[in-house]
């Protein structure tokens, strides 16, 4: 802090001492330096202008044009890539669509085939069933006939038993004879 104040003090003292002997009035209105100032102004300004105009501005313009071209190229290639991507998307969508229709077709075909197969099987089964029913019916009929055939035999035996129980005597007639007897008595 002390150093800073010392510095300020010395700076103030310096400026004070350099200005204390100055003449009063505006130095700007003293024409003695006009020629020199104008001369150096023209010299510096013109040289600065010439160097900037012929050396630096073309450089700046060049790099700006380069950058513009580069950006344009990049935009163009981006557009191209975009179009390509769109095309690819369209293609894949188309392919997907065709694949879908193909699959649908195949599925439909399969369903049809399966249905046909199932119908065929059902028909076969039906046929078999009918055959079996017929067979069973026939067997039943046979059994029935057999039973009917045997009815007289059984009835004879039963009657025989009943007879035995009542009379307590055995009948010597065989069933076939009895049958014959029954037929003759009719």
């Amino acid at each position: 802090m002390n150093k800073l104040f010392k510095k300020i003090f010395f700076f103030s003292a310096y400026t004070y001492s350099t200005t204390i002997y100055a003449e009063s009035g505006m130095p700007q209105l003293d024409p003695s330096s006009y020629v020199s100032q104008t001369f150096w102004l023209i010299l510096t300004f013109v040289s600065l202008f010439l160097i900037i105009n012929f050396f630096f501005i073309p450089k700046i313009e060049k790099i700006r044009i380069l950058r513009e071209n580069k950006v344009e190229d990049l935009i163009k290639s981006a557009e191209r890539f975009n179009a390509e991507a769109k095309n690819l998307k369209l293609k894949t969508e188309n392919e997907l669509q065709s694949a879908k229709t193909e699959i649908d077709k195949r599925i439909n075909n399969l369903i049809k085939k399966n249905n046909e197969l199932i119908e065929k099987k059902i028909k076969e089964i039906d046929l078999n069933l009918e055959k079996r029913i017929l067979l069973t019916e026939e067997q039943l009929k046979e059994k029935k006939n057999e039973f009917i055939d045997n009815v007289s035999k059984y009835s004879f035996e039963i009657s025989n038993i009943i007879y035995y129980k009542i009379v307590n005597e055995r009948n010597e007639i065989s069933s076939n004879e009895f049958k014959k007897l029954m037929v003759e008595n009719k």
Binding site: S12, T15, Y16, Q28, Q37, T44, I57, I60
Partner: protein, 246 residues
């Protein structure tokens, strides 16, 4: 107390004479040359390795270029772009001159009326010549008679227009010169306060003016930029008038 105007004094560094004319290398010339060297250095390093993606300093240079070209595009239009190198040079020459002047113990060449007037007068002459070459003398003179004004009014308006046209270089030069001179004088006066008040009150009294001085220095830096901008933009407007003759 020392004169606060003493800082504007021209002191000869190298005595030079061309014929009868004294063209000595002065402190003003030194700062002018320093401004040129500074601008060229920045431009040189900014444009040394040109890259599509610019470095920091290249960005600075390109942004400066863009700044000026936007200024011209807004105020003149596309025809004005051929004056870009001139306005670029003008703006940065004045800006750097103002900013170098803000450094302690340096010199502000823009605070001299002869310098600003020389530039302004050149711009005035150039704008007038551009107008005459582009539109012919008659049309240029028609510039002083605004259209759609009743004829008796022209008697009044034409002198006013001529006076306002002729006063352009004066207003342009005095604006820059007066701003820079006033600012630096004020800084000097406040700086004197810091010294005198500080010396008379064991430093404590100098604190307030010192704070004020710091704030004013900031303001002066803004003014340094603003005046260069105003100078450049008015140049654009004058060239625009010359090209379009509204």
């Amino acid at each position: 107390m020392a004169s606060p105007l003493a800082q504007f004094e021209i002191s000869k560094l190298i005595q030079l004479n061309v014929g009868d004319f004294d063209v000595s290398f002065t402190n003003s010339s030194l700062v002018m040359v320093l401004s040129v060297v500074f601008i060229l250095t920045i431009l040189f390093f900014g444009l040394k390795n040109l890259k599509i993606v610019p470095s920091k300093i290249q960005s600075l240079v390109e942004l400066s270029y863009e700044f000026i070209s936007t200024m011209i595009g807004d105020n003149i239009g596309k025809e004005g772009l051929k004056y870009l190198p001139f306005i670029f040079t003008l703006f940065f020459f004045i800006l750097i001159g103002n900013l170098i002047g803000m450094m302690p113990l340096s010199f502000t060449w823009t605070s001299h009326i002869i310098v600003t007037f020389a530039i302004a007068f050149f711009i005035f002459l150039a704008a007038t010549f551009i107008a005459i070459f582009k539109h012919g003398l008659l049309k240029f003179l028609g510039f002083f008679a605004p259209s759609g004004v009743p004829k008796p009014m022209l008697l009044l308006l034409v002198p006013i227009e001529i006076i306002s046209y002729i006063s352009r270089p004066i207003s342009l030069s005095v604006r820059l010169f007066a701003n820079m001179m006033a600012g630096h004088t004020l800084l000097k006066v406040i700086g004197g306060f810091v010294f005198v008040l500080g010396a008379n009150s064991f430093i404590i009294g100098g604190v307030l003016p010192l704070a004020f001085l710091v704030a004013l220095t900031g303001l002066e830096i803004v003014i340094a930029f603003l005046q260069a901008y105003v100078f450049a933009i008015l140049t654009c407007l004058y060239i625009n008038d010359a090209i379009h003759l509204h």
